[in-house]
Amino acid sequence: MFAHLLSVMIFLPIVAGLILLFAPLGRTTARVAGFGVSLAVLVLSFDVYAGFTATGKLEFVEYIPWIPSLGIAYHLGIDGISLFILMASAVLLPLVFVLFGTRSKGYYANLLLVEGAMLGAICAADLVLFYVFWEVMLLPVFFMLGLYGGPNKLPATLKITLYTIAGSLLMLASLVYLAVQYHTLTGEWSFSIEKMGLLNLSGQAAAVALFGFMIAFAIKIPLFPFHTWLPDAYTEAPSATTFVLSAIMAKIGVYGVIRVVMPAFEMEFARYALLFAYAGVISMMYCGLAAIAQKDYKRMLAFSSASHMGIIAVGVFSMNVQALTGTIYQIVAHATSTGVLFLFAGILEERTRTRAINDLGGLASKAPVFALFFAIAMLASVGLPGTSGFIGEFLIILGALKFNVWIGVFTGLSLIIGVCYMLWMFQRVFFEKSKAASESFKDLSLVEGLAFVPVMLLILIMGIYPHPFLRKIEPSTAQYIAAVAPSGVTQTVAVSPALPAELTTEKN
């Protein structure tokens, strides 16, 4: 349709957001404009999805040299791994504009800016470009949190900002190290992510650089012990921001590990993979247990989101096709379930003016549609068979068991913790006796209800008939694992019989 589809998807929201920031427009105009732009991005994303041919290579490539003397370029492209994160963000963001109406103009402008920056980070095929978008996507979050957040917004804002900036500056050093190594080995300057994948660095300096990257991504995901910013930021942020952080931005952290770290540091990564996987296991256990104890449902969801991100991270660190496929699948599932739960929490908070679980009760009888949708998203989040969460988590646990039995066992165990806090919270908020705060709770309006229907359908379809999605993911993951996995580790693919052949051809 367009020659520069990805660029249009990235810069349409950014330009629109900047115009909204500076133009003297009303709140409603801004909201409608924001919704329109995010819908336009959604339409473009369908175009991308339809045109994507799952070759396992980068598609929709755009390449414009930026700093030729250093090989830095404006280089975009997507493959089966980034496609789904791209789709998740494009599909989910219009929802925010529909649901939250009582906000100021700058709020919508910032949402558009963050959407553009996130899409940029997902599509970037050049390290410097990736870093630019990675940093830019923090700025709107900083302003949304600081301007429109809850009562303790300032400490939360500073915490998330300093944490993430510290992480990303370490990443900057590491990515320069990568490029310089590439220059030393090949005599050519390049910051292309693909070319960095040709490197296989090992040694002490490489390990330090690896940790530079990993700390940056671990902060964004977040992984234990870099998660302490999360409960404050997620709780104090306005619901739309929490949703963006949890549903999409956290995934870009995982995506960074897959795209940048593993290809460039195959040997070193394999050496520390078990350590990283245990960090993932600890964060899922720890955050799950912390979630049980929460009295504030938004904070509980924050911990639950972190706990599930731990599972996704384990999927990446297991370094096999099943786990990675499951990870990509679970990235979408987590966005549509746990991410969407934050939207419900936002609605709940807006209408009841409380975040305490104990203040609520008996909502199911007052708002059956809301309760139903909430239940579907919640069950997908805990991984009930028949929902999208099941497929993703099943594949991840399968892969984790192959990687290391204990990691697999712990991953499975943490799902039980997830069921505990989720169902307990659901029982207290939606059943039991009605409380004062929940007395006047109104069900979702027709528009709101209709807005959620596609997401609910997506959860169910992805849970019952995953094949069309897996078909798009697998070529990329298989090829990726074949290129990345250290020799000696045998790979067998259970999901699709066509893949072993590809594996052997690519493994050299």
Binding site: S69, V128, V136, T157, L158, L169, L170, A173, V180, A205
Partner: protein, 473 residues
């Protein structure tokens, strides 16, 4: 010869303009506004001449003028561009500053031009005596400018400190030059370099001592550790536009001559690389810790100037391995830093009010609520200084880090990054105050003139434009 003249023309233009303004100032009908516009026009014209020289005359890498006393290289051209740009924007912010404060005279603008002439000369010089003369032309003009507000105690204190210390610096430079001449028999940089290359860096005690004295002067002028203590008081006492001019143009000139001196020969740079290494680290961290403690915005910016000197020193450390890269890296970083710093001082020039009554962090609480555009501009400048993409400051830092890692100084690059993490604290502090707090006073009357506003927003554009400009290595 014609070519020589064209390359030298900006210096001629600026110095003749300065003299002309000084003479015209005696005429009663020549008012302050005329002087402001005339000096702005001269800076603009010289900038365009320099730009055309930069774009057109790059057929040979080095053009020597006047028998090797002056040398024009791409690096000196770029530094000259930065200095002239700084002069232009300083004139703009002076115009808005003196709408509120009435201690200016025609000589003020003339002195700005004199200082710029000295700086331009300093970027081209390849010889110690010329360097000394250029340094003094620049410094004398700056001393007067720092103390221009004679009724102000702070300003008087500032000029006292700067003059005494600066005089020591000048004397050190002259003495260092004499020692080096005694050892080498020449004051030309490349002959000194040749001497060091053949006889070794520590061949003669006079050479060591001379080099030491010259380095001390340069560290002092660049506000690097341990000669940084004057910066806070002098920057605080000088008027806003002058502080901005000193922080950017003066630093550019000093680093230009610094790089030229070290570039003369790799052996000379190698002799000093260890010292530069530690001074870079200490400048960054010392500057950061001083900046964290400040309540005055001006003092914070002064301290952050020390940090940026540290980054530039990283560039100098990386100079040895490949001579081409760091030169352009340093010039780029100077341009990026100049755009951000000048922008802030340009905004402060019209925000600080009469007698600079508002210059503390807390005075800018809630600025974004009443003046969203100015707050946005200041945020962009701060983000650029902090090195957040997509601003020029980020690209500058990226190039510095690439140069450092390429030269094998990974630890220096990492420490530079740690220092910019610390720096986030005080840059973000102002943004947080401007955006996330309620306004305690109205800022409405702070727009006495358009020039300041326009130049501030032009600088915002510069910050983004510079970030997109690819450096050629």
């Amino acid at each position: 010869m014609t070519n020589d003249f064209i390359l030298f023309f900006p210096v001629v233009l600026v110095s003749l303009g300065a003299i002309g303004l000084m003479l015209a100032g005696t005429c009663r009908c020549f008012r302050l506004e005329h002087a402001a516009w005339a000096s702005g026009g001269l800076f603009g014209l010289a900038f365009l001449v320099q730009l055309s020289a930069t774009l057109a005359c790059d057929h040979s890498l080095y053009n020597s003028l006047f028998k090797d006393i002056l040398v024009v290289s791409p690096f000196s051209k770029a530094a000259g561009l930065v200095i002239l740009g700084c002069g232009l924007f300083s004139v703009c912010s002076s115009i808005s500053y003196f709408k509120r404060n009435n201690f200016s005279g025609v000589e003020y603008y003339s002195l700005l031009l004199f200082a710029a002439a000295g700086m331009l000369l300093l970027t081209m010089t390849r010889e110690l005596v010329t360097a000394f003369i250029a340094l003094e032309i620049m410094s004398l003009a700056i001393y007067v400018l720092v103390g221009y507000d004679r009724d102000n105690v702070l300003s008087t204190e500032a000029v006292m400190k700067y003059l005494v210390l600066g005089a020591f610096g000048g004397a050190f430079f002259a003495m260092g030059g004499a020692f080096i001449f005694g050892a080498v028999g020449s004051t030309k940089f490349h002959l000194i370099g040749n001497f060091v290359a053949t006889n070794g860096f520590s061949a003669s005690p006079a050479l060591l001592a001379g080099g030491f004295f010259i380095m001390v002067t340069l560290f002092f002028k660049a506000a690097a550790f341990p000669f940084h203590a004057w910066v806070l008081d002098v920057y605080d006492g000088a008027s806003m536009p002058i502080t901005g001019f000193m922080a950017t143009a003066l630093k550019t000139a000093i680093f230009a001559v610094f790089a030229n001196f070290l570039l003369a020969d790799a052996a000379l740079q190698q002799g000093w690389v260890n010292v530069l290494f530690y001074i870079a680290i200490l400048s960054m961290f010392m500057g950061n810790f001083i900046a964290i403690g400040q309540n005055s915005l001006k003092r914070m910016l002064a301290a952050s100037g020390i940090v940026h000197s540290g980054y530039l020193l990283i560039g100098l450390v990386a100079l040895g391995s490949q001579q081409q890269i760091p030169g352009s890296v340093i010039a780029y970083y100077l341009a990026a830093y100049a755009a951000g710093t000048l922008g802030i001082f340009s905004a402060l020039s019209f925000l600080s009010g009469k007698g600079e009554q508002w210059k503390n962090f807390n005075d800018f609480k809630g600025l974004a609520k009443t003046n969203p555009y100015t707050a946005f501009a200041i945020s962009i400048f701060l983000l650029s200084m902090a090195g957040i993409p997509p601003t020029a400051g980020f690209m500058g830092k990226l190039y510095i880090i690439i140069a450092a890692i390429k030269a094998g100084h990974v630890s220096l690059a990492v420490l530079g990054i740690v220092s910019s993490i610390i720096a986030m604290w005080y840059y973000l502090r102002l943004i947080v105050l401007m955006y996330f707090h309620e306004a305690e006073r109205s800022f409405v009357e702070e727009y006495p003139c358009r020039v300041g506003m326009v130049s501030t927003f032009v600088l915002v554009l510069c910050v983004f434009a510079i970030s997109l400009y690819p450096i050629a290595l």
